[in-house]
């Protein structure tokens, strides 16, 4: 009979190794918050440029997307390296897998900010219709607010934000529907090209908000092991 009670202890070494691992995970989280803030800033700026028709800042929004793309690639590489080298499990694994999704959501949101100002560029300025302008401004605010929920969720790791995100997003959806209705009504006076550009803006704002919701829900998954509304 093999007596095993005097075999070497296997656990002590691991605890030390994990300091470095913990640091790496915390670094990813901090960088995600920074990255999210970077994208949020450009999303807000794009909203301002579009709703206030600031033609001479269109290129600033475009330029600001370059470091966003670079940051995305660098961070994604980091996450893959940890996945490959550390064999993460449980919450760590959920966090890293969610991080790759969140990175993607953020990068896409950055692209949408650029797409927004492209519409303005194409129109050579926003139509003077006050009602449309004010509706667009509300939509821009609302979308940025929902998107910010996602960034806040990463910063706080609070699962509650993701649980309420879908409801918070309703306002953006409603405003988008209102904008569509108004543009449809005024299609003739606005002209085809302007109408299409306004439709697109509406859709881009709506999508930006959706990305914020997804990010917040990803954080709920990290923290609890399940997505909101999932049993």
């Amino acid at each position: 009979m093999v007596d095993t009670h005097d075999l070497p202890q296997h656990n002590n070494i691991q605890t030390d190794l994990r300091h470095h691992y913990d640091d790496e995970l915390e670094e990813i989280r901090t960088e995600l918050v920074e990255f999210g803030t970077m994208v949020l800033t450009n999303v807000r700026h794009a909203g301002e440029v579009v709703t206030e028709s600031i033609l001479d800042q269109i290129d600033d929004v475009r330029q600001a997307d370059k470091p966003i793309n670079a940051r995305y690639k660098a961070l994604e590489t980091k996450v893959f390296e940890i996945l490959a080298l550390q064999q993460p499990v449980a919450r760590d694994l959920r966090f890293l897998v969610a991080s790759t999704r969140i990175l993607y959501e953020l990068e896409r949101s950055g692209d949408l900010a650029v797409n927004l100002v492209k519409q303005l560029d194409r129109l050579d300025g926003l139509p003077s219709d006050q009602q449309i302008r004010s509706m667009l401004a509300q939509l821009s605010q609302s979308a940025a607010k929902t998107f910010a929920l996602g960034v806040e969720a990463i910063a706080t790791m609070d699962p509650e934000i993701g649980i309420g995100a879908e409801a918070a997003d309703e306002e953006t959806d409603d405003l988008t529907a209102d904008l569509y209705r108004l543009v449809t009504e005024r299609q003739e006076s606005l002209g085809l090209e302007t109408s299409v550009a306004l439709f697109r803006m509406g859709r881009f704002f709506e999508r930006i908000a959706d990305h914020g919701v997804n990010i917040a829900e990803d954080i709920t998954f990290v923290a609890t092991g399940a997505f909101p509304n999932e049993d």
């Binding site: 202890q9 656990n11 691991q14 913990d22």
Partner: protein, 298 residues
């Protein structure tokens, strides 16, 4: 998320034979891709019910309850000294060989109490075989290593056939078929361990207990053993003790995580969590499990 993941409900057969067929196909495919996720269709073959193990006055393991399902791989993990080997040995009454050891509670095999009065421990070990950490072939030929157990048990069939089929099942036949008369010690460590597995299955058990069967092997030999376990679970129920958490994650269907409480210098092991392996390694229910599997201790 905007896109909901596929759920069982979505796969549930809707009215119409076609949908039902499709759902069955998708399930079969998913099972193929995932290597067969554990489902409760497998019957419980061994039931540990409030098992306590003592060595003399020393309370080594406290109140362990684990239902082991047929044709699944169940892994025991946990820190050194938490009682994994102790519990494993109690399942085929190997603990009887340690004088001070005493088992309380109930361990049932196909519903029969293994510690019941009419039960012969030798018979138990024939049904519930064991493979140890260090490959321990007999100092005999490869052939005799396999033939020895069945001979003692009064096997009357064709011994050559039995030796061949046992070695086949242990994925060793092709490597040794031309040197069956050579000493088992001439084999590599990994081959010796597969020989020990072949020896264990030669007496036709239906449960195999493995105590760190790959810890003395190199990574390639380890993967071969894991692959073999995966094949063996078509026919056998396997319980494996391992220190290698990735191994438990790779091979097992369900995992039991044990921990150890230190009380006045005495260390008593206990079961913390027993659940599907995929669940345990992605979303464990207990913080203690999480701390252990992620390498962080309380």
């Amino acid at each position: 998320m905007t896109e909901e993941p596929t759920t069982d409900e979505q796969l549930a057969p809707r009215p119409g034979a076609e949908q039902a067929e499709l759902a069955a196909e998708i399930r079969a495919e998913r099972k193929r891709v995932t290597g067969g996720t554990p489902d409760d269709a497998h019957d419980v073959i061994i039931e540990l019910d409030n098992v306590d193990v003592y060595y003399g006055d020393f309370h080594a393991v406290d109140s362990v309850t684990i239902p082991v399902r047929e044709k699944e791989i169940t892994a025991f993990i946990g820190p050194s000294g938490c009682g994994k080997s102790t519990v494993l040995r109690s399942i085929n009454r190997m603990n009887d060989l340690i004088e001070s050891a005493r088992v309380e509670g109930r361990i049932a095999y196909h519903g029969v109490d293994l510690y019941g009065s009419g039960v012969d421990p030798v018979e138990v070990r024939r049904h519930i075989g064991m493979v140890f950490q260090k490959p321990n072939p007999f100092p005999k030929s490869i052939y005799d290593n396999i033939a020895f157990g069945p001979k003692i048990a009064g096997f009357k069939g064709d011994m050559d056939d039995l030796v061949e089929s046992s070695l086949q099942r242990a994925a060793l036949w092709d490597e040794v078929k031309d040197k069956l008369d050579e000493s088992a010690f001439a084999l590599s460590g990994g081959q010796q361990q597969r020989l020990c597995i072949a020896r264990a299955i030669a007496t036709s058990p239906d449960v195999l207990l493995m105590d760190e069967p790959a810890s003395a092997l190199d990574p390639i030999a380890t993967l071969r053993i894991e692959d073999l376990m995966y094949e063996l679970k078509q026919e056998y129920t396997i319980i494996i003790v391992t220190h290698n958490m990735q191994q438990a994650a790779r091979v097992s269907d369900r995992t039991a995580f044990f921990s150890v409480d230190v009380n006045e210098g005495k260390r008593t092991g206990r079961l913390v969590e027993f659940t599907e392996t995929a669940k345990l390694f992605t979303d464990p229910a207990e913080q203690e499990t999480e701390d252990y599997i992620t390498g962080r201790f309380g």
